[in-house]
Amino acid sequence: MEAWQQLRRNFRELWQSFRGNRMGVIGLGLVISALIVAILAPWLTPYSPQQVMRDENGRGLTFAPPAVHPPLGTDDGGHDVWAQLVFGARISLTVGFLAGFIAMFVGSFLGILAGYFGGWLDNLLMRITDVLLVIPDLPLMLVLVATIRQMQLKISPITVLILVIGLLYWTSTARLVRSQVLSIKERQFVARARAIGAGHAHIIRKHILPQVMPLIVANTVLILSTAILIESGLAFLGLGDPTKPSWGTMLNFAFDRNAISNGAWWFYLPPGLAIVWVSLGCVLLGNVLEEMLNPRLSGHHLEGEAHIIKPGEQQ
């Protein structure tokens, strides 16, 4: 209980100092605004993402520039790009967030177990992360996704993406959490708790978890940005769901359907900017959180010279 209250207090303090950090606030703003757009998507556009826009003769309006069809023109399929963009936010963010959370849960769980219990479990886990670290991730994911889809397990392409990303990106979290748990384990209050006969589950829940929680939060935010970038990449390579276009899928269509030759910048610029928007937000946020939890060196020896106050100089 006490530890959790401490945690709440820590979060409040964190928030206090966070508010003063410009980078962090910008990052949070970027992420939240994207979330709001995703949630409000149906109210932000009169069109559905599947709807074909038409000219006055009722013919499909493809590759229409923004001047012809505001605000962002139409794509190769005659869809409203703005509608695709705001509904795409739902898909991109869903995949990013769910995959990120899976990675967080798996990573934290395994990291805590490994750090707390040590021994062969720790060894095994560390070897697995070592191995996963050197296998190039994109080829592995592409091969995995392609294989899983080929097996026709009746899982939607989006679910496949979420699972593959989530289950491959837990290693960094696991390592981080493990080392943190290792250092907490050595502290006195854990030894004391163990001495009075507290069970493992109790110690983990009451003492370890609240201590590693802030770290997990910061790390998750960073993983989110990776997950969103990876999703966009896989979708760009054609592994997304073409009927539920995410930002990556939009770019896949733009590239495959000659948006460049058509000079349709309104088709390929917005989705990319949206991806940068969110992933930059997460990176800023995550970096700031990490810096706050784990302040690095405040200065170094070559930053300049001390100021010498000359006699008579007012200070």
Partner: protein, 325 residues
């Protein structure tokens, strides 16, 4: 003695990892549904039962998956036989080798440029911490990190071809394809500008960030103060004392980044239709050419693993501490 042990451990680890990759590769492609023989034949052809049977025997599909097919596959892979591509109807190993050099050229150039400029920028940013230079470099790196590789490629491609008249893809202009390389170097260079620039921008940010924090940490060490107390000026301190110490983590990062580099190659070669391994991987993926996909994955993974091992060895040469411990 100690360093021998260290190297042995690294070697054993590389072997273990390669073994894991081989197993992943084998298992993944064996759990695919459908008859590989039918898939070879495709939609367009009728083929008699006897021919199908002989193909099946050719692929070893009449034997049990484990251990026969597995051992047979490993024996084949070890001898450099990666099978025959379904879509290109050529030995996979031969195709891979023909594309390898193009990719090495692109990745090599991108890495060298990004390491050089990334380290330099990181050094300056870390040294001149909290100046406009530092803030600018930091912002640039974060944005570069947050930008999808392929999208940056698309933007540069569209902008470069529209405004600068740069080629939109390939390695050489049509009229130069097939000519001896030394006569077309300028054309090759022009084609390399955009993909290399994309790669450089992306990796540069990462190297800059790492170098920056590494140099800040190094410059906070006591021996830097010693150097200052010795009367060395800032440049002397940076060059003689800080650089080597700060560069050491970079070596490891470069190695660990190789996987990331491979990802970049897949995206960039796809966007710039650059005829290398990354493009090949993407083609194999869209054509569902499994032998090719399998071979490309094996090659990419094994290269990265071996490169990691090499980086470890390099590290022992650079850092006296590792060599002895």
């Amino acid at each position: 003695m100690g360093s021998g042990n260290y190297l042995l451990r690294k070697f054993a680890f590389a072997l273990l990892t390669i073994f894991v990759v081989v197993i992943i590769n084998f298992v993944l492609f064996r759990i695919l549904p459908g008859d590989p023989v039918r898939a070879v034949i495709g939609r367009n052809v009728k083929i008699s039962a006897e021919v199908q049977q002989s193909l099946r025997e050719q692929f070893g599909l009449d034997k049990p998956v484990f251990p026969d097919q597995f051992l047979m596959t490993i024996r084949q892979w070890a001898s450099g036989n990666l099978g025959v591509s379904w879509s290109l109807r050529r030995p996979v190993a031969e195709i891979l080798i023909s594309k390898l050099w193009n990719t090495l050229l692109l990745i090599g150039l991108g890495q060298i440029l990004s390491i050089f400029f990334g380290v330099l920028l990181g050094l300056l940013a870390g040294w001149k911490r909290k100046t406009a230079l530092d803030a600018g470099a930091l912002t640039f790196s974060l944005i570069a990190w947050a930008t999808p590789t392929f999208w940056l490629g698309i933007i540069l491609l569209a902008a470069g071809s529209t405004w600068l008249g740069l080629p939109t893809g390939g390695i050489l202009s049509p009229q130069n394809v097939g000519k001896p390389l030394h006569t077309v170097l300028p054309d090759l260079a022009v084609h390399l500008i955009l993909p290399t620039l994309t790669l450089t921008i992306l990796y540069l940010g990462e190297y800059m960030l790492i170098m920056r924090s590494s140099i800040v940490e190094t410059l906070g060490e006591d021996y830097i103060l010693t150097a200052k107390a010795k009367g060395l000026n800032q440049w002397q301190i940076l060059w003689r004392h800080a650089l080597k110490n700060a560069m050491l983590p970079i070596v490891t990062i470069i190695a660990l980044n190789l996987g990331f580099t491979v990802s970049g190659a897949i995206y960039i070669e796809t966007v710039f239709s650059y005829d290398g391994l990354g493009k090949l991987f993407q083609t194999a993926l869209t054509k569902q050419d499994y032998p090719l996909l399998q071979g490309a994955f094996l090659l990419l993974a094994v290269s990265v693993i071996l490169a990691n091992m090499l980086a470890d060895i390099l590290y022992t040469i650079l850092d006296p501490r590792v060599k002895a411990s």
